[in-house]
Amino acid sequence: MGGLLLIAPGLIWLERRLLAVWQDRYGPNRAGPLGVLVVLADTLKLFFKEDWIPPFADKKVFVLAPAIVVITVLMSFVIVPFSPGFIVVDLNIGLLFFLAMSSMGAYSIILGGWASNNKYSLLGAMRGAAQMISYEVFMGLSLMGVVLITGSFSLHDIVEAQRNMWFVVPQFLGFVIFLIAGIAETHRLPFDIPEAESELIAGFHSEYSGMKFGMFFVGEYIGIMLISCMVTCLFFGGWLGPAFLPPIVWFVLKMFAFIALFILLRASLPRPRYDQLMEFGWKILLPLSLLNVMITAGIILWNENPL
């Protein structure tokens, strides 16, 4: 777990460098080799900033909110199988545990925005809550195809079931929907509507400063890692790969490929309007994911007893 907290700031550096590459700039390149130490400087700055709680805020809830996001995301990592023996606990409801934790993560946005007692924060919190609740639905449904094929909620079993073929082939629709829902769950660009700097200043965390803001920030980056891990496990065969590299290396390679995809999306796509986002979710993704579940179940039933 500590390792994850160390990788998160590294990701911030990676993101800034990659964005710079894709936008024809240099990015941070002064402090240390290739500018790696800029992360250290950022973290030190966050730690030494004044930790200010607004007098009009609801103090207890205000302090609680940033902790929730980091706790829920870190808890989700418990069920991720990094390589055959490298997993904290192999729950038989692993996938449901992940969904439960991601639904608890919505509280950090709502409570943070509400406790700030600021109209922009409240607007951001409301958008965030609506977005997270609705995208959770498709997220869960898009995974059901994988669960149907494997016959188990355990992530270890799901990875093992992909020995012959990665699930991205039979479950391509599920993969696309899960990726979109995952971006919306971590409220990354292009779906960062709860924080939309240009409209809502910073949305739900505009009153936060110092390490409390840092928690939201780190939570977001660990969230990206979590979604990348889940995509790797569920659709791209987890640690499976040709034998010339150890399993954990395959896992990390695939994970970083998806993290780079997340960053590329941020670099290239504009932010949709809020109602467009909700409309896209409920009118396109929901029917598609239901269709995906129905067709997958139908094919499995057909294969078991073809008339």
Binding site: I93, L96, S103, M104, I110, I133, E136
Partner: protein
Amino acid sequence: MAFYIASIIAILATVMVITRYNMIHALLYLVVSFLAVAVIFFMLGAPFVAALEVIIYAGAIVVLIIFVIMMLNMKEESVEQERKWFSKNIWIGPGILALVLLGELVYILVTSERVLLNNAVVDSKAVGMSLYGPYIIGVELCGLLLMAGIVGAYHLGRQRRKVIHRFLEKTEE
């Protein structure tokens, strides 16, 4: 042991839900109560129900309630009003009656014969088999109820789209 800790947390949290004056704080305690109940389910060998409890009750339903309360924008006045409503002579009568009932319940629980819990884990397949086997009528009725809800919500939320244009202004049906 863990069972008793979770149960005590659930009971304490539920008491806090009733006694808080601030709505959001009460709802947060409600979330804690749901989480404790989920832990109890998990220990009694129903991990599937535990996960659903967290996803649906703690994750979705309470979020929606908080959503509505955020929209209502409750401020200090409403906390004051809650405090006024929650005066002693209002809750003491129902409280005594409920205590009598609680005493009866405890008496029944103590005197009845003990059933040892068999911690057989009920997996999701077993849940599905019983839902679509003996309880199929309940599932169908829930489906009908939800369908009615969706149709009602669609009817309430429907709005005629207004096309604003310099020359042709009309309301689409």
